[in-house]
Assembly symmetry: C2
Homo-oligomer: 277 residues x 2
């Protein structure tokens, strides 16, 4: 599979790269970013997937999450996928929370979304094959995290494939989308009216049904402007009711922005590095 | 008020003491333990109240929680009250979870408990006056923690008097006693059938009603044999629904014992020391 290099820059002794490829899953060109720490020069390193939120591309977290310094210290690679297919011929919606920039990490089954909006397959199947082939990464040492819609993606993907993702965390995840306007609208559009199909993409329901074999770290800002949409209390209840190993931290004064994410990025990178070592 | 010294021993450069006094609140002799760190030789130090669980005296945590080493390092005093009045003439019950050793940190309003079972007043009013008078302690720097029934006490007392207790944490607290057999039985006996009086002594209800102005730390063992009685999920939900600052940690493999408590005592002592500094 051919990979076009858009840019590569030295960063904290490693390399921050941005790449483009033709995706079979989405039927479009897709852009993503990879950070390789200095340790990757000596052989395969563990990798942490970072899934972004609504409206984001591969670029937001790459430039605003402050993750590279800690990844370099811990010897961890980072992969930042885009959040949806994009471009002409790809369906879209005027709203910021549907269509391009809002893939919700599902495979759409409904028109007009189904031809391209297959972000589950893209993130879980296609992109891993590509990056594991192209970069010095250890396939047995993968963790996953994300912010908001990306936290939803990270949690649902990790609980579905716990064998592959040996560590998981989330920043202010959309925690209970089947009961939120961040979820019902998108699931109706992408998956259809059958709510049975929705539950496989709801972190609180998956937590209640199956949980995660390792420890789970959740950070949530107490001054997040989207708390009513995120529904963190549903996930907190499900975690403790299941006796899920891990911790839920409510961070006073923090909002939903990358100022929040970057403030706790060190904790998350070290959390994953410890578990992927 | 006269204080009888039962024992004093050097411990981690400080002094572990056990004392007895005549309590006006309970109308009995009461025994308690105080650990003074080395820093207390130079002036008043912050203090951390540790409330114990069912069946415990002042002695259990003093000998099994491993708190002194961290308190010495952090310059924090520890106070370990007993869990109930004791002795002849004090009502009791054959069950381990009612009567002597099971005061539940309430003021009993019902016969035969009301004459002596006034542990709320004892812990919140009488004993603080006594220890603040007798030892070099800073009244403006008090925190509170506890285990099981003592975690219930710590949380309910801190939320009722947040002005006085500037930090709070709990190990495996009885989190929702109004909905548990650890609670309904005792509240019925001590407080009577009027459930309105119970809610002031339920950490999950208090969390929903008023919360705590600072950060709250909860540790819970995932293999705790009493999870169904503790109901930690009610507290976790209430904390996050209120956006309560702090964190709830589910610790995999740990049970309800002091092997659990001592494993996380360092975190708790440092948590309080940081907030009382």
């Amino acid at each position: 599979m051919s990979l076009e290099t858009i840019s590569e820059n030295r960063s904290f002794g490693g390399v921050q790269g941005v790449y483009r490829h033709r995706s079979a899953a989405t039927g479009t060109d897709m852009t993503f970013a990879v950070y390789l720490p200095p340790q990757a020069e000596d052989g395969p390193v563990p990798l942490l997937w970072y899934l972004s939120g609504l409206t984001c591309t591969h670029e937001n977290a790459m430039t605003k999450a402050g993750a590279q310094q800690w990844a370099a210290e811990a010897g961890l690679a980072l992969v930042f996928p885009d959040t949806s297919p994009r471009g002409e011929g790809v369906a879209d919606d005027a709203a910021y929370d549907l269509g391009q920039g809002a893939g919700f990490y599902v495979n759409a089954a409904q028109a007009p979304w189904s031809p391209h909006f297959r972000m589950w397959d893209y993130v879980v199947e296609e992109l891993p094959g590509l990056v594991l082939d192209a970069f010095p990464l250890d396939p047995a040492a993968q963790g996953i995290t994300g912010h908001s819609m990306g936290g939803h993606g990270a949690l649902t993907i990790a609980m579905t494939h716990p064998d592959r993702y040996r560590s998981v965390s989330a920043f202010a995840p959309i925690a209970n989308p089947t009961e939120s306007d961040w979820g019902r609208k998108q699931f109706t559009a992408y998956l259809g009216e059958d709510r049975a199909a929705w539950s496989a993409h709801d972190a609180s329901l998956l937590m209640a049904m199956r949980g995660y074999p390792g420890e789970v770290l959740i950070d949530q800002g107490a001054s997040d402007q989207f708390l009513d949409l995120l529904r963190p209390e549903a996930l907190a209840h499900a975690m403790v009711a299941r006796r899920q190993a891990g911790m839920f931290r409510m961070q006073p004064g923090y909002d939903h922005s990358y100022w929040f994410v970057q403030s706790f990025m060190r904790d998350h990178v070290l959390w994953h590095a410890e578990r992927l070592a």
